[in-house]
């Protein structure tokens, strides 16, 4: 591991975090909150640490794949830890571990909270919580890699660690331009949603926070009942933007490049939309007796399906009270997650698609043992390597899931709670079922469980491997 490079980039990430923290400070000033100074103090701490780490430029350059993964994993942990400091200083959250849980939940766009009373938070605190969703959604390192002089090596190694999906590719030849395009789409989407929400009658603060939660597929609300008390119009707007945020961004790129035919034939997006429609229809029938009108039934069903399949985690209804079939459908949605190359979490549609196709391939080879069959996606033959790594990914996912559930079970809660708590964090969802249902929170877990869930959130956001790499003692060795 090249520690010089790692330290140098850590310095940059801290400086960036210091800059980001100025925003909640300004928000606090506008609302005349005394505690907002905690953000300025923390920004100062970040800046000093960042500058200290950046004093020395690394002698040996080189950002290879292992450094990329290592730097991103370490960077996300550091960001979460430093981002938690203002919550503690300002007194919004008493215990440090809880504050780290909240920040990690924010950056990883999970949306699980340990707050029992969200509305008691300061405005600065609420803003920072939601703002971490915006930062975490598209990824901070992807953003930095466009600005940083990269010390040799290839910045795509950072993007590979931070972006979602089985195979990460650039949209255009140069990394810088790719990042610019991704962020323009991302921010344009955010701006559009924010404006529409303003028109629907939300005040600017709530519109901004809700937008951050939606486009980053995060899910921190600023009310105790999440979005339930907002108007149907707002709920529909959020539903649509959640689903749009879960779409593979390369589709928007194709549309921008006016390649409409390619855009509408993306298999992954088609499957994603198909599953959404299917789930909404199934749930609507199942819960029709709970709501007075059809329009409300459909709205509740679509919102809940949208929020869970994209791993956002807003809620407009306590789906924990819905019939078992609906809950089962929702849990399936939680597992599958959004499209690769989006801000959403979960296993990702493209992996599901690859798995389904590999199963088909396996059956074909049973019938015709000598058949040469290739797995295709959008007409292109997929490398065996990609198929293989998808399978490995799923096995790692299951292993981490099992171990985490075991650890969390030590607290003595029921199985549904433990299972869905791990699912909700590992897939960056937010709420689970039973004790961690949409109306509840994670505060009752023990510190060990909270640490496990923090790990799960970050691991889920970074697609497992970076966090596993950082846990391997081998990777810390100076001479690899």
């Amino acid at each position: 591991m090249n520690y010089g490079v790692v330290a140098y980039i850590m310095g940059w990430i801290l400086k960036a975090e210091a800059a980001f923290m100025v925003l909640p400070f300004v928000v606090g000033l506008l609302y005349r909150e005394y505690s907002t100074y905690s953000y300025l103090i923390t920004a100062g701490i970040c800046l000093v640490c960042g500058l200290l780490l950046n004093i020395k430029k690394p002698k040996k350059g080189g950002l290879f794949l292992k450094e990329g993964f290592f730097v991103v994993a370490l960077g996300w942990i550091i960001m979460s830890v430093f981002g938690a400091i203002p919550f503690v200083i300002s007194g919004d959250i008493e215990r440090f571990i809880d504050a780290v849980f909240e920040t990690a939940s924010g950056f990883s766009t999970t949306g699980s909270t340990i707050l029992t009373d969200v509305e008691a938070m300061s405005h600065a605190g609420l803003f920072w919580r939601s703002f971490t969703h915006l930062l975490g959604g598209m990824g901070v390192f992807v953003f930095l890699s466009a600005l940083l002089p990269m010390l040799g090596g290839n910045p795509i190694n950072l993007m590979k660690a931070e972006s979602t999906g089985p195979s990460v590719d650039k949209l255009v030849p140069r990394m810088k331009d790719t990042v610019k395009i991704l962020y323009s789409i991302y921010l344009a989407m955010a701006a559009t949603e924010c404006i529409i929400l303003l028109i629907c009658g939300l005040d600017l603060f709530e519109a901004l926070c809700t937008t951050f939660g939606t486009v980053g597929t995060g899910g921190f609300g600023i009310r105790n009942d999440s979005l339930a008390s907002l108007s149907p119009a707002v709920q529909w707007v959020v539903t649509i933007f959640m689903i749009l945020s879960g779409v593979n961004y390369s589709m928007y790129f194709l549309i921008l490049r006016k390649k409409f035919k390619q855009a509408v034939t993306l298999e992954e997006v088609r499957l994603y939309l198909f599953i959404i429609v299917l789930a909404v229809v199934a749930i609507s029938f199942n819960i029709s007796h709970l709501y007075p009108t059809t329009s409300e039934t459909v709205r509740q069903a679509s919102f809940q399906v949208g929020t869970l399949i994209t791993s956002t985690g807003f809620a407009t209804a306590d789906f924990d009270l819905w019939p078992e079939f609906s809950k089962a459908v929702l849990v399936f949605c939680m597992f599958m997650g959004a499209c690769a190359g989006s801000t959403g979490g979960g296993l990702k549609m493209s992996r599901i698609l690859i798995m389904i196709k590999s199963m088909k391939k396996q059956i074909t080879t049973l019938i015709h043992p000598r058949a040469v069959v290739k797995v295709r996606m959008d007409g292109n033959v997929l490398d065996d390597e990609v198929v293989h790594s998808t399978m490995v990914y799923v096995s790692i996912f299951v292993s981490i899931f099992a171990i985490s559930t075991l650890i969390v079970s030590l607290d003595g809660n029921d199985f549904t709670t433990n299972f869905t708590a791990v699912l909700a964090t590992l897939n960056n969802m937010g709420p689970g079922l039973n004790k961690v249902g949409p109306t509840c929170n994670f505060s009752f877990f023990s510190d060990l469980s909270k640490l496990t869930l923090i790990f799960d959130m970050l691991a889920g956001r970074l697609e497992l491997l970076p966090l596993l790499l950082i846990m391997a003692p081998k990777s810390w060795r100076k001479n690899l």
Partner: protein, 453 residues
């Protein structure tokens, strides 16, 4: 600029590496997916798997927006064909460069350029041979750049320990020694200077002098810098490059000898190069070199197909006698180590080709929307030499140079007027219609007016 490179062989990769370093937007097309991954994995480029001669592939790689198309596949015909297709498909006046190595086509570059509308045809072996031949024709120079239509030259050479140029102040060159040349740049260690008249030359400096060919010649004579071309040269290895080198040297009256192992190749060489001595034997054997007179030879070109043999051959020759050697090394990976050896001149063929491509790209980029006519980057990229045509009256025209306040590290080297090159002094002026060559370091200059403070 948007550049598409087809073929990621050794040459393609060498070109791509250089272009990436210059910050261009590059897409590489190759038929072999693994090759794309393994050779370009570390570079910030887009890879596209497909056939470079297919219009659909070029479409997919974005030929619509490309400014430059470089075909560097294995066969000449595919390169030519893909360039033609690229030109037809392009909507943005895409320039094309084709690598063509068959000597028969190379003779007809003019026709290819005109009729197939290809902007640059490059023959790697011929380009390499040019470089080899230059070393023996102008042994004093380590690099020569030509400017303007009247052929002003910028000749780079190293100040040797026993040279008369040691501790000479630059203004004395003109006043005391009456030479009509201008020292435009001096590389000392890692630094590059744009010198003024009070600059003093030191041993080990890499000096660039500019002037007319014959003035530079007399300058070299006055300072005893060995102006003679090599009298006789031994070439080991009679492949394509060896053949070209022999032909060029022979044409410029240097007596040449080729040592080649393959009998049939020897026959071919003997048929096609009537004035050249062709020896059939193993050039890496010590006895043969001595037998063929390495002790009395002025130069040796190591041009076999194997890098290691070339290196050992040159080291061996230099251990026998103090002969000027030029060694061909194809792989650039170990440049650092190889350059520490006592090898005199080392030539990397891929580097030469990629340099020429780069030259083309840079002047294309620079000349887009400005009145820069020629452009060279020198001294490890720290110095630029620019050729301007002065088309309008402006703040630089009509004023004596000594009254102008130039930016730091900017030097006006040559003013070309009515077919004559003037090495400017303080009382000279720039007039409309002149062509001007300037050298600058670290200044942002896009127009001739930019030279002023």
């Amino acid at each position: 600029m948007n550049i598409i490179v087809v073929g990621c062989g050794k040459l393609g990769v060498a070109i791509v590496e250089q272009l990436v370093a210059e910050g261009h937007t590059i897409t590489v097309i190759d038929r072999n997916k693994d090759r794309l991954g393994s050779r370009l994995g570390g570079l910030d480029v887009m890879t596209y798997c497909g056939d470079g001669c297919s219009a659909a592939t070029l479409d997919g790689a974005g030929i619509d927006h490309a400014n430059l198309f470089i075909a560097a596949m294995d066969t000449d015909e595919t390169n030519l064909l893909s360039c033609v297709i690229a030109k037809k498909k392009s909507k943005s006046n895409c320039r094309t460069i084709a690598r063509v190595r068959n000597p028969i086509y190379s003779m007809e570059t003019g026709f290819l350029k005109q009729e197939l509308d290809i902007d640059m045809v490059i023959n790697p072996e011929l380009a390499t041979a040019d470089e080899f031949a230059r070393i023996f024709k102008f042994p004093y120079a380590s690099q020569i750049d030509t400017f303007l239509i009247q052929r002003a030259e910028l000749v780079h050479f190293k100040v040797k320990p026993d040279s008369k140029l040691n501790d000479v102040m630059l203004m004395d060159i003109k006043t005391k020694h009456n030479c009509k040349v201008l020292v435009s740049m001096v590389e000392r260690g890692d630094e590059v200077f744009i010198p003024n008249g009070h600059f003093v030359l030191k041993e080990g400096d890499m000096v660039g002098v500019m002037g007319n060919q014959k003035d530079i010649y007399s300058f070299f004579q006055k300072f005893g810098l060995g102006t003679k071309k090599a009298s006789n040269v031994i070439i080991v290895g009679g492949g394509k490059t060896g053949y070209y080198v022999a032909r060029i040297l022979d044409n410029s009256g240097i007596s040449t000898k080729i040592i080649e192992l393959n009998r049939e190749r020897c026959d071919f060489l003997s048929e096609n190069l009537p004035n050249v001595d062709v020896i059939c034997g193993d050039g890496t054997a010590k006895d043969i070199l001595i037998e063929e007179g390495i002790q009395n030879a002025a130069g040796l070109a190591a041009l076999t197909d194997i890098d290691e043999e070339n290196i050992l051959l040159s080291l061996n020759a230099r251990s026998i006698t103090d002969v000027k050697t030029a060694t061909k090394v194809s792989r650039t990976n170990f440049e650092d180590v190889i350059s520490q050896l006592n090898l005199d001149t080392i030539i990397f063929p891929n580097r030469i080709v990629s340099d020429r491509v780069l030259q083309f790209v840079r002047s294309l980029q620079y000349t887009m929307g400005s009145n820069i006519e020629s452009f060279r980057r020198l001294g490890g990229g720290k110095v630029e030499a620019l050729g301007f045509k002065v088309t309008d009256c402006s703040s630089v025209t009509g004023t004596a140079l000594m009254n102008m306040k130039l930016k730091e590290n900017v030097l006006i080297c040559i003013i070309s007027r009515n077919g004559k090159n003037i090495i400017p002094s303080g009382s000279d002026t720039i007039e409309v219609g002149d062509r001007v060559v300037i050298v600058h370091a670290n200044a942002d200059i896009k127009n001739i007016e930019d030279i002023l403070e």
